[in-house]
Amino acid sequence: MNKHILFLITNRIIISLITLLIIAVIVFVATTLLPGDTATILLGQSATPEAIEGLRKAMHLDEPAFTRFISWILAFLHGDLGISYSNNMPVADMVGRRLLNSLKLASVTTAFAVPLSLFLGVTTAVMRGSLYDRAVTIFTIGVISIPEFIVATTAVLIFAVYLKWLPALSLTADIDTLAGLLRAYAMPVITLTCVVSAQMIRMTRAAVIDALASPYVEMALLKGASRKRLVLSHALPNSLGPIANAMALSLSYLLGGVIIVETIFNYPGIAKLMVDAVTTRDLPLIQSCAMIFCLAYLLLVTIADLIAILSNPRLR
């Protein structure tokens, strides 16, 4: 690894950190400065001015916004996420287990979606223009252009209502037995896999088609290499970088999908926690969830960029 590539990587990471800081400012401003006074909201309309004043002092709301932002971000860095408004529990405790649940869902989905989309993406690129390719393309465009909740309701209609393989919307917490576990995960995973794979298949297909159109593949073709050899040993190794980039980018669609899927299937994950927090206007909880989501998103996008840098042979 030479200096140039090291420079590019540090540069990219610094940009991500700056972006994270700007995001923190936006989240903080949106949640604390825009609405009416937090103390008034907490105590209700009938509270006396003295009580409101006291609470404002206790919550440090009388300090300037800038100092509040600094202390908020410092506390956040130390793992202190604040106290929930609605049930006075530390936010960190509420978030912890839920986050684990969401990560489980995400990793199971990834384990299904990545091999599936790799296979479909590469095969459609190789058989470009065939009936199979067109069918897959129509499917992916269809999934991309409808909201996630319609994918979810369609999955329920197919697997629960018509085929009767799985229970519809009522998810019980019975995840002790293997069958229960499979049932609990099946529908959310099917939906999320559809949403994420659609993006992955499109991007993988584009990357492989790009590689197949390059001069060195044409050279190999002219040399008389077989079609299999053409794809597996010439085109594929060179498009691994773009494909890995595409995978990381598409996984960021998990975040949007997970919000809908956890709500519709009543899955006890962090996205459901956040949607509930929005309904009850529990600001510390919203801030923490929003920062966790943005962090995850930024992480995926940064990884995608780093892969793109590292896999570019011209930079090596």
């Binding site: 700056i18 972006t19 309701t153 369609t154 519809a168 956040m274 949607v275």
Partner: protein, 282 residues
């Protein structure tokens, strides 16, 4: 949406649209007419409970069945079209106007104005759209003006980046240099020299962004954080009637189909536009 009318159609035969594209256009026009004529098309008043049965099937009295309270589904979908299309159109117009004006200004002005604006909008676009919407709704609630404004803010950065990338190429052209030398004002350069050259791709981008906005709006309404009851857009209709899902009631399937036909139609229409309009490199 109005791409063929507003592009420079000097040589007409060049701008033929494929059959699939025409089908897309037909569906778009159909939904626009439904939204425009809403009150005249709906057979029943929107809030009235007219069917004794809830989640009723399709019948002669209730063409599209009835919802979870026994309200006529056809009327609800017709009125829902007004919310979905109206809010989305207003938001996409605002987003693209702001984005394109800022993008062209940044490209023509350059310098610190360009770099500060680009950095800030880039950071904004790295917040996932659904999350941004959740944070805004938690802070300021979800009345219809707030929704429109919020959707516009969320999709302005993308539109800005797209328009700026196009306008930077145009700004490097000789005729722009000449216009500058003539002493033309920024406003004239933007409206008379840059805009006409990027209008085709910009309108295409507007169409795609419209789809994103419809998707986000429906998603938010589905979460119960978008259009608030008793009013309901299509996403809200799916949410209201989600209990009908286990027995495949038309009340939950039909609004979904309405959203899907609209968004897929816009995509089909744009995908099949002549390359001359779509092409972003020219």
């Amino acid at each position: 949406m109005t791409v063929e009318t507003s592009s420079t159609t000097r040589r007409r035969p060049r701008y033929q649209i494929k059959v699939v594209g025409m089908l897309g256009l037909a569906i778009i026009v159909f939904w626009l007419i439904v939204a425009a004529l809403g009150p005249h098309l709906a057979p029943y008043p929107i809030g009235d409970i007219v069917d004794q049965d809830y989640f009723g099937p399709m019948s002669r009295d209730f063409w599209l069945g009835s919802d979870y309270l026994g309200r006529d589904m056809l009327s609800r979908i017709v009125y829902g079209a007004r919310y979905t299309l109206g809010i989305s159109l207003a938001a996409v117009t605002m987003a693209c106007t702001c984005g394109v004006v800022l993008g062209m200004s940044a490209a023509v002005a350059g310098g610190w104005f360009d770099s500060v604006l680009s950095r800030f909008l880039d950071a904004m676009s790295s917040i996932p759209s659904k999350l941004f919407a959740l944070v805004v709704v938690s802070a300021v609630g979800s009345s219809i003006p707030v929704l429109i404004f919020m959707l516009a803010v969320i999709y302005t950065p993308g539109s800005y980046r797209f328009a700026r990338a196009l306008a930077v190429n145009i700004a490097a052209m000789d005729y722009i240099t000449i216009a500058r030398l003539r002493g033309e004002k920024m406003f004239h350069i933007i409206t008379a020299e840059v805009l006409p050259n990027i209008i085709g791709p910009v309108l295409t981008d507007l169409g795609l962004r419209f789809v994103f906005i419809v998707l986000l709006l429906s998603g938010m309404s589905f979460l119960g954080l978008g259009v608030q009851p008793p009013a309901a857009d299509w996403g809200g209709l799916v949410r209201e009637n989600i209990d009908g899902l286990p027995f495949a009631a038309p009340a939950v399937i039909l609004p979904s189909i309405a959203i899907a036909t609209l968004t897929i139609a816009v995509n089909l229409f744009i995908d099949n536009l002549p390359v001359k309009i779509r092409d972003r490199s020219e």
